[in-house]
């Protein structure tokens, strides 16, 4: 029972970390990606190599995985943002990116065994540890979105031309947010690898990308707590309802259409979980 629970908690933590990354990109910068699984793959492979061949311990390896993913984010992000890719072209380019990562990893044999993948990864991902990491990630994402950088990202999301006119370096900001989102997804990939103890190039597929995207859309774009809650629910849903397991993606698809049709702002819609309380507290103080 304990193992079962800790397993679910670990999956939740991994989901939250990845969702934090995508919410910065999609929820705040307004660019939506179909290929963040590629970053998870890169992060997982980089950290596993660091652990198995260079003797890194878990946290440094995880950070290394994140940095490698962010570096690839720079490599992919700079030309795509410089090329002024709009939403749709960017989404497809990211699909191509994750596909390219998958093909490349399947055909490299030294160190990573090609399509067979790597097994026998030490199981570092303890539930309490990854939950702690996820909590730190949520906190950092929250602070980031409330900072100057987050506001700039929001201005780009809402009116790119206007943002550029008031002096925002749109390309730089986009690439920056893209790298940060890659960093979080890379860390999530490392946590995943150290929980399941084996990875193959196909571990992180389009389904993974869709899962993360679904959490961000359901949770609400422009909010951090919304997607976090959605990530928790989406990770628990298949456990609670076994029937749903098979039909999960059908359900996600249908929900995605319905959310976009009737409540495009999602669960939280640009608000945070505690912002209502804060507002009321402020009002009370103003009343005095």
């Amino acid at each position: 029972m304990y193992q079962y629970l800790s397993g679910i908690l670990t999956v939740i933590a991994i989901n939250i970390t990845a969702v934090c990354g995508l919410t910065i990109l999609t929820g705040f910068t307004g660019m939506f990606s179909l290929g963040h699984a590629g970053f998870m793959s890169l992060g997982a492979y980089a950290s596993v190599i660091a652990i198995k061949y260079w003797g890194f311990s878990f946290i440094p390896a995880m950070l290394f995985g994140g940095i490698v993913a962010a570096f690839f984010g720079l490599l992919v992000g700079y030309p795509t943002m410089k090329g002024r890719m709009r939403g749709d072209t960017f989404a497809i380019a990211m699909l191509g990116f994750s596909e390219t990562v998958r093909l490349a990893l399947s055909n490299i044999y030294p160190y990573i065994n090609g399509a067979l993948g790597i097994s026998g990864i030490p199981k570092y991902s303890e539930a309490w540890l990854v939950l702690l990491i996820a909590a730190v990630c949520v906190y950092l994402t929250f602070r980031y979105t409330k900072s100057k950088h987050g506001r700039i990202a929001l201005s780009i999301r809402d009116e790119e031309t206007a943002a550029e006119l008031i002096g925002v370096n749109v390309t730089r900001e986009k690439v920056k947010n893209f790298m940060i989102s890659g960093f979080f997804c890379g860390m999530a990939g490392c946590m995943y690898a150290c929980y399941y103890t084996f990875i193959t190039p196909n571990t992180f597929s389009a389904t993974t990308s869709n899962n993360i995207l679904a959490a961000v859309v359901f949770g609400g774009m422009g909010s951090v707590s919304g997607p976090t809650i959605a990530a928790i629910f989406l990770a628990m849903l298949p456990e609670v309802l076994r029937v749903v397991q098979k039909w999960r993606l059908v359900l996600y698809g249908a929900l995605m259409i319905l959310v976009m049709l009737f409540k495009p702002e999602g669960l939280m819609g640009g608000r945070e979980l505690f912002s209502g309380w804060k507002m009321r507290a402020k009002k009370r103080e103003a009343g005095k």
Binding site: G30, F32, L34, P79, T80, K82, G83, R84, M85, R86, G87, D88, T89, A91, I92, A93, L95, G96, F97, E99, T100, L103, N107, T161, N210, L213, V217, K246, W247, L249, V250, Y252, G253, A254, L255, M256, I257, V259, M260, L261, P264
Partner: protein, 292 residues
């Protein structure tokens, strides 16, 4: 030399499939300025319509092709009426339209996987396997058919858009939907026509793709490459989409023949990034800044 000619023919036949799909993307983009991400499943459902017409009703191939096209057009209209139109009425941002399209894609594709299974089926027609030999060059009948019918379809489309009244409405809408509506054009009619045409093209392309390769629920993924083709030609430009499709088809075949077949699937995305960096409007696209 024969190898080269053989590759050109293969490239043109896959390119004509890309071109049909890319035209569907371009048509919708030119008017509504968003990309229909549900296009892959529209094509997939159309193909399955054709397969079932042959398997269950024993229809001959020409009838099956027509059934496939009509089914695809029907699904396309259904998506437009149930999802895109209500969202456009609410002035949803493009991002939301695309996410809804992804939702449709996920929903239909996984529904198909759960109900008819994800296994790969051959297209129930041996046209793809009958080979015509001219000297040392061999051409599958399906390639000739797909090339020929694609041209017919594109010519019909051209005639429809440039010679009919609804076509005039479509062209006017491509400049500005709202003004066109004010001028008394039935904009709802135009949107139905556009989605039906793109569905017909998708159905036709799907049947040929199924004949050339196989039929399976996630075959819609090929429409992503068609999207790349329409980007190469310039988003929203119909002649550009045709040229982009043929260029991409040729390029892919040449790369897999002379460089490495593993690179085949990557080349499309690489080309897209290069095109967007150096020619942001594609080969024939209208200026991106026009539609601010």
């Amino acid at each position: 030399m024969t190898v080269f000619i053989q590759q050109v023919i293969t490239g043109l036949s896959i390119g004509s499939i890309y071109a049909l799909l890319a035209v569907g993307y371009a048509l919708i983009f030119s008017i509504y300025n968003f990309s229909n991400f549900a296009f892959g499943v529209i094509m997939m459902v159309g193909t399955f319509g054709a397969v079932y017409a042959i398997n269950l009703a024993g229809a001959p191939l020409p009838i099956a092709i027509i059934v496939g096209m009509i089914v695809a057009a029907g699904i396309s209209l259904l998506v437009e009426l149930s999802t895109y139109r209500p969202m456009r009425r609410k002035n949803s941002p493009r991002l939301y339209l695309m996410i809804a399209g992804i939702g449709v894609n996920m929903f239909v594709e996984n529904l198909a996987i759960q109900t008819i299974g994800s296994s790969v089926k051959p297209f129930p027609s041996n046209w793809g396997r009958i080979i015509l030999n001219i000297g040392n060059i061999s051409i599958a009948y399906a390639d000739i058919l797909s090339g020929g019918l694609s041209v017919v379809m594109l010519v019909c489309l051209w005639l429809f858009i440039y010679k009919t009244k609804i076509g005039l409405g479509i062209r006017a809408s491509a400049y500005d939907v709202n003004t066109t509506g004010l001028m008394g054009v039935n904009v709802d009619m135009v949107s139905l026509a556009v989605f039906a045409i793109s569905g017909l093209a998708a159905g036709l392309a799907g049947v040929f793709y199924g004949m050339k390769y196989t039929v399976y629920p996630s075959m819609g993924a090929v429409s992503n490459k068609a999207f790349v083709a329409s980007v190469i030609g310039g988003l929203g430009s119909l002649p550009g989409a045709v040229i982009g499709g043929l260029v991409l088809g040729l390029l892919e075949t040449m790369v897999s023949a002379y460089v490495s077949s593993k690179l085949r699937d990557m080349i499309a995305y690489l080309v897209m990034i290069l095109i967007l960096v150096f020619m942001p409007n594609g080969l024939l696209g209208k200026s991106v800044k026009d539609k601010l």
